[in-house]
């Protein structure tokens, strides 16, 4: 079994537990923005797409990488945008009255 795999498995397990503990604390109030935000963070796949598309390689990988970069980057831009839009809407009532 390759050494890299073991290292990645450590990282995966720890990140999984960390994610579980952090996300468990997100108020159900914000579950929709949570999904939008994790979507945007997941779009970090775009960095891999950029490398695949822009490094010296076959035309196929250039095309696949570019399409992947397109899809992932639209998630990144749209995901952050909509998360912030939603969060701006959440207001407390005290502010209006006082």
């Amino acid at each position: 079994m390759p050494q890299g795999f073991i290292e990645n498995l450590y990282v995966f397990l720890l990140a999984g537990f960390l994610g579980f503990e952090v996300i468990r604390r997100v108020s159900p109030l914000l579950h929709t923005p949570l999904m939008a935000l994790t979507n945007a963070l997941d779009a970090i796949v775009v960095v891999a797409a950029i490398i695949i598309a822009a490094r010296r390689g076959s035309v196929l990988s250039e095309v696949l990488g570019s399409v992947a970069a397109f899809a992932a980057f639209s998630n990144m831009v749209g995901g952050f945008l909509i998360t912030d839009r939603m969060l701006r809407m959440f207001k407390l009532s005290g502010r209006k009255k006082s």
Binding site: F12, G19, L37, I50, I51, I52, E62, N75, R85, M89
Partner: protein, 471 residues
């Protein structure tokens, strides 16, 4: 020469540091999302992390040809911005679509790695082949599955579950075929056409996985697909040996998983039941057996008088409220009742709306303050002291059959127990069963008043009555 080598390794080191900072920011981002007070800071820090990672990637010395990728990123932004500006009612289908995009991106990179791997020396090891195959299978099925979910939510595809006899066997055989292809590829990665066949089979399985699932289960399905997409990204991290992807994927995957568990609990269902149970089948017969029963009805004037004399009112909104575009009128009702000294709260069922937390967003958009929103358990413990429970466009989540009728398809599902309030009002177009098509005995009990009509029109006449008559 030496200087160049040093530069390369320095660049590599800087890239690694940038990715580590990005990861730290991602975790902070999710941590700050936990409460509305800090949530926007969380988004900002996530954006900084992502921007840092993307910009640093361009300094990678391996990169030589930028024209296509720059066009792709530009096009991504052009498409992403309108997708970030959709209406709040359309957020579920937008989310499903972005799951499809995320899965597509990860799957395409995996496919590209496969073709790079089989044409290079040394060729792919068995281990690498398995990693790639798993990544591509899950990515492909999440892609088509999410597209089908988006189509159902957008109502381009029928909401009702589409089922046929022996469906689960057929679906599992298709998945089995994909796994079998992966196993053959493991021993011989270069079998002609087998890899593309595996991709096509996986795409087909994604369609077969989501088609039989009904509209009422979409909140769970979206969360589950979210989890698959995260898993795909993490697997891609294994394939590319990229820790940033492993971490981001693990975070996304655990988030989707948690939300899916929350949704399942809120419906008293198991994952297997959601995926293979074809919810919504029993109601066809239940509907036919329904006989005429008497209901109490009330006019907007009567409803307004009762609401104005109440001390506490709990509004239970469902997706029907959003369909009728009644959120803003409901907020006016909140304002006018609050002014009259009535304590108004909103009881939010976890599956109200079409994705986790959807109802909160819809109400927040209508300027309902979030401290007025009460979760199901809190709402239920306050219910006996509640004078009026006003149900707007919600059906199954208030259905007492879930507690009493063992034959009901939703038996055991936790509900907002509006039948414990002193008076119940239900705004509804007609007595037709709702989204999931299940009859609701709530409508026939003595303390329930049915307010027949369009939710928006009805609430606005109640508001008119309250403002006109009260001053």
């Amino acid at each position: 020469m030496n200087i160049t080598v040093m530069d390369l390794s320095t660049v590599q080191l800087l890239t690694d540091f940038a990715y580590i900072i990005a990861i730290a920011f991602f975790v902070l981002s999710l941590k700050w999302l936990s409460t509305p007070a800090t949530a926007r800071r969380g988004v900002l820090v996530g954006e900084i992390g992502a921007a840092l990672a993307v910009v640093t990637t361009f300094f990678n010395p391996e990169l030589v040809q930028f024209q296509w990728v720059l066009i792709a990123l530009f096009a991504g932004a052009i498409v992403g911005i309108p997708l970030g500006l959709v209406q709040m009612t359309a957020v579920p289908q937008r989310t499903a679509l972005s799951h499809a995009f995320g899965a597509l991106a990860a799957a395409l990179i995996g496919i590209s790695e496969y073709y790079k791997g089989i044409s290079s020396t040394p060729p792919l090891t068995k281990f690498e082949m398995v990693e790639i195959a798993m990544e591509v299978i899950i990515g492909s099925l999440s892609f088509t599955g999410s597209l089908i979910a988006a189509g159902k939510l957008q109502e381009w595809l029928p909401q009702r579950p589409i089922v046929y006899k022996g469906q689960n066997y057929v679906s599992f055989s298709v998945l089995g075929a994909a796994v079998l292809s992966a196993l053959v590829l493991m021993f011989n990665p270069t079998v002609p056409f087998l890899f593309p066949a595996m991709v096509v089979i996986s795409l087909l399985f994604g369609v077969m996985l989501v088609t039989p699932i009904g509209g009422a289960d979409m909140p769970t399905v979206i969360a589950l697909l979210n989890s698959y997409v995260g898993l795909t990204a993490a697997l891609l991290g294994f394939v590319l040996n990229s820790k940033v992807l492993v971490v981001a994927g693990a975070l996304d995957g655990s988030s989707g998983f948690i939300l899916a568990v929350v949704m399942c609990k809120a419906m008293n269902r198991s994952f297997t039941n959601v995926l293979f149970g074809a919810f919504g089948q029993l109601q066809v017969t239940a509907k036919a057996a329904q006989e005429e029963r008497t209901v109490h009805t009330a006019t907007p004037e009567e409803a307004a008088a009762i609401l104005a004399s109440a001390n506490t009112v709990l509004i239970v909104p469902g997706y029907g409220m959003a369909v009728a575009q009644a959120q803003h009128k409901v907020r006016e009702l909140l304002d006018v009742l609050t002014k009259k000294g009535v304590d108004v709260k909103f009881g939010i069922h976890p599956v109200a709306g079409r994705m986790p937390g959807h109802m909160n967003v819809l109400l927040a958009e209508a300027d309902v303050p979030y401290d007025k929103l009460v979760e199901m358990d809190a709402a239920n413990s306050e219910m006996p002291q509640t004078d009026v429970a006003l149900v707007i466009g919600a059906n199954d989540v208030t259905n007492p059959a879930a507690k009493t009728d063992q034959g009901s398809p939703i038996y055991g599902m936790p509900i907002i127990e509006v039948d414990n309030a002193r008076t119940v009002m239900v705004i509804k177009r007609s007595l037709n069963p709702g989204f999931a098509g299940i009859d609701n005995p709530l409508y026939y009990i003595d303390k329930t008043m049915m307010l027949f009509g369009d939710a928006k029109a009805f609430v606005s006449s109640v508001v008119k009555e309250l403002t006109g008559g009260g001053e």
